[in-house]
């Protein structure tokens, strides 16, 4: 029961992880992008997974040749779609949301430290959202408008 990449488990070619909570406003952008991806056919070797928080990433960042993580980020103009490498998260100062112990960069780093399988090619598709200041169910107009572009970026990254 490896905490990160299960070396003996079957590998998928590509996994798309949507991170977020639908009841937390723009934090649900990752889930909305997964929904958009489901509306068109994807190659059978691409797996779509929803993750409720960053700690769930520890189990999801292994066992795949490539992983694309879709999440809301702060910094920049709301609606911008960023294509980031893990090291960009800190360098660009693009914080992701997390309230429970692990931030996304920490979860990625921890999964890499603990992982014992072959390395995973990881990209992060970040959608810039406004800093949340009120409870909201569902996406803001700016975030919702960015969903098609984010989905297209994910498709390009997984070769679909």
């Amino acid at each position: 029961m490896s905490a990160a990449r299960g070396g003996g488990e079957s590998r998928v070619r590509a996994r798309v992880i949507g991170l977020g909570q639908a009841a937390a406003g723009d934090d649900g952008i990752g889930l909305a992008v997964l929904d958009a991806l489901r509306t068109t056919a994807l190659p059978g070797d691409v797996e779509l997974v929803a993750a409720p928080d960053a700690s769930a990433l520890l189990d999801l960042l292994g066992g795949a040749d490539a992983v694309v993580l879709v999440d809301a980020v702060l910094g920049g103009s709301p609606g911008d779609v960023l294509d980031l490498a893990p090291e960009d998260l800190a360098q660009r100062g693009a914080p992701t949301f997390s309230t429970h112990g692990l931030s996304v960069p920490q979860a990625i780093e921890l999964a890499q430290v603990l992982g014992d399988g072959p390395p995973v090619a990881l990209r992060i598709v970040g959608v810039v959202v406004e800093r949340p200041n009120a409870p909201r169910v569902g996406l803001s107009p700016a975030a919702a408008a960015a969903v098609p572009a984010a989905a297209a970026r994910v498709r390009a990254l997984v070769g679909a």
Binding site: S55, T99, H100, G101, L110, L114
Partner: protein, 431 residues
């Protein structure tokens, strides 16, 4: 006064649940004041509950915290059942204890390994620590997973479980469904034993505090859902009497309420209090592990709370296994009830300490009034007192080191600011 006044603010306190800030003021080289400020707006859950059907309370209050939703559900259902005059007993009662054990395991495992251990071992965070302590971190994650497995099976999902209701559960598991948990929990119990040994080897600063310790005490069990509220200074009352014995008040620097004993001072809830007041109720295995780890029957060093948490994880694994071994499914998943006009009270033991709920309901079963007192707001003043001692003893330290010590001292109590209001941040500045 120029040159004599100095203010240390820590703007962002990492590795606690939420955000707030710590402001330490020094004057003439001496400590002037310590304020743990919680400035995130309160969330008005108590007002949100007014006008809702009583059956909604466990699911609404579960949303107060993503780490300890079961605690909120348990205090809610027990308080409402107290109002309704029903008793949930037998296998349903046991299943609730099992669910709570799952939450203790996952919450404590997270705090010990991912949040608190880096303080002792000198790492900025768990990812850095994992490079040198890979096995320990993996063990912690396995423990957390075991706790989550209990929550998923009994609660329907691991975050904000949806299967708890007033009177019992929506659905109860069969014996066969519980069986796979046994192997998971046996492995977790071994891991917990190892974790107790691991944390016992940490270095602990010398700090003995004369806390008034407050926890539940049950006639025969280590406390989860039931018991009288007792203290190390002789308090012994029913949960109904909570509000006459403890006072919450607003303080200008925080949006979380501060609590103290009526006519008295601050007090401490949580693992140190539970352990000291219920050491004799631990399982033999947990008591033995505590002894091996060098814990006496009482522990008043807040840094050693990390050992007590590990002992409680071990106990929770033991207790969960005992519950599963004895489990016979109940005839019905819930006890029926009829609404009536009444007020009910309950206190349960959240991982971070005593969690009190009170509800007033009308004849139609609508909530008229609600009161929720979470453990972190009860501990807030006591945490400030810990910080006063830490700062006083560390005035000559380089500032970065002093701030690190303050952060560590706050994490000793695993504050869940999400519950107390929402978020916490720690700030530092020189005047």
């Amino acid at each position: 006064m120029t040159g004599e006044r100095r203010t240390i603010k820590v703007d962002y306190l990492a590795r606690v649940e939420g955000e707030g800030s710590l402001v330490v003021k020094l004057r003439g080289g001496k400590l002037d004041s310590v304020q743990l400020s919680i400035f995130e707006p309160p969330r008005f859950f108590e007002a949100l509950l007014r006008g809702r059907a009583l059956g909604e309370a466990p699911d609404i209050t579960a949303r107060i915290c993503g780490i300890c939703p079961v605690a909120y559900q348990m205090s809610a259902v027990h308080a409402l059942e107290d109002a309704l005059g029903i008793v949930v007993d037998g296998p349903l009662r046991a299943l609730r204890r099992l669910l709570y054990c799952g939450e203790w395991i996952e919450s404590h495992a997270l705090h010990i390994h991912l949040l608190h251990a880096p303080d002792f071992l000198g790492y900025p965070d768990v990812a850095a620590m994992a490079r040198d302590h890979r096995v320990a971190v993996q063990r912690g994650l396995e423990l957390k997973k075991a706790g989550n497995a209990v929550l998923t099976l009994l609660g329907g999902r691991e975050i904000h479980p949806i299967n708890v209701r007033v009177g019992g559960f929506y659905r109860v598991p069969t014996r066969a469904e519980l069986r796979p948990l046994e192997e998971t929990l046996r492995r977790a119990r071994d891991a917990a034993r190892e974790t107790v040994r691991w944390v016992a080897g940490f270095e602990f600063p010398n700090l003995e505090r004369d806390y008034e310790l407050v926890a539940l005490r049950h006639p025969s069990e280590y406390p989860l859902n039931e018991g009288r509220i007792v203290s190390s200074r002789g308090l012994d009352v029913a949960p109904h009497d909570f509000e006459s014995c403890f006072v919450e008040e607003h303080v200008p620097h925080s949006t979380a309420l501060h609590a103290h004993r009526t006519g008295g001072g601050p007090y401490l809830v949580g693992p140190l209090a539970r352990y000291a007041l219920n050491h004799d109720r631990l399982s033999p295995l947990a008591r033995e592990a505590a002894r091996e780890a060098g814990l006496g029957e009482t522990c008043r060093n807040p840094y050693r709370s990390v050992i007590v948490r590990a002992v409680e994880v071990l106990w929770a694994c033991d207790e969960a296994l005992a519950i599963i071994a004895a489990y016979e499914p109940p005839a019905a998943p819930a006890v029926p009830f009829a609404p009536r006009e009444a007020t009910g009270h309950a206190a349960t033991e959240a991982p971070r300490g005593l969690l009190y709920h009170r509800y007033r309901i009308d004849a139609a079963g609508t909530i008229v009034d609600a009161r929720i007192v979470p453990p972190t707001s009860q501990n807030q003043r006591t945490i400030e007192h810990d910080l006063e001692q830490v700062v006083t003893a560390g005035l000559d330290l380089p500032e970065a080191e002093l701030v690190g010590r303050c952060e560590h001292a706050i994490r000793n109590h695993d504050p869940c600011i999400s519950c107390a209001t929402h978020f916490l941040t720690l700030r530092r500045e020189e005047a």
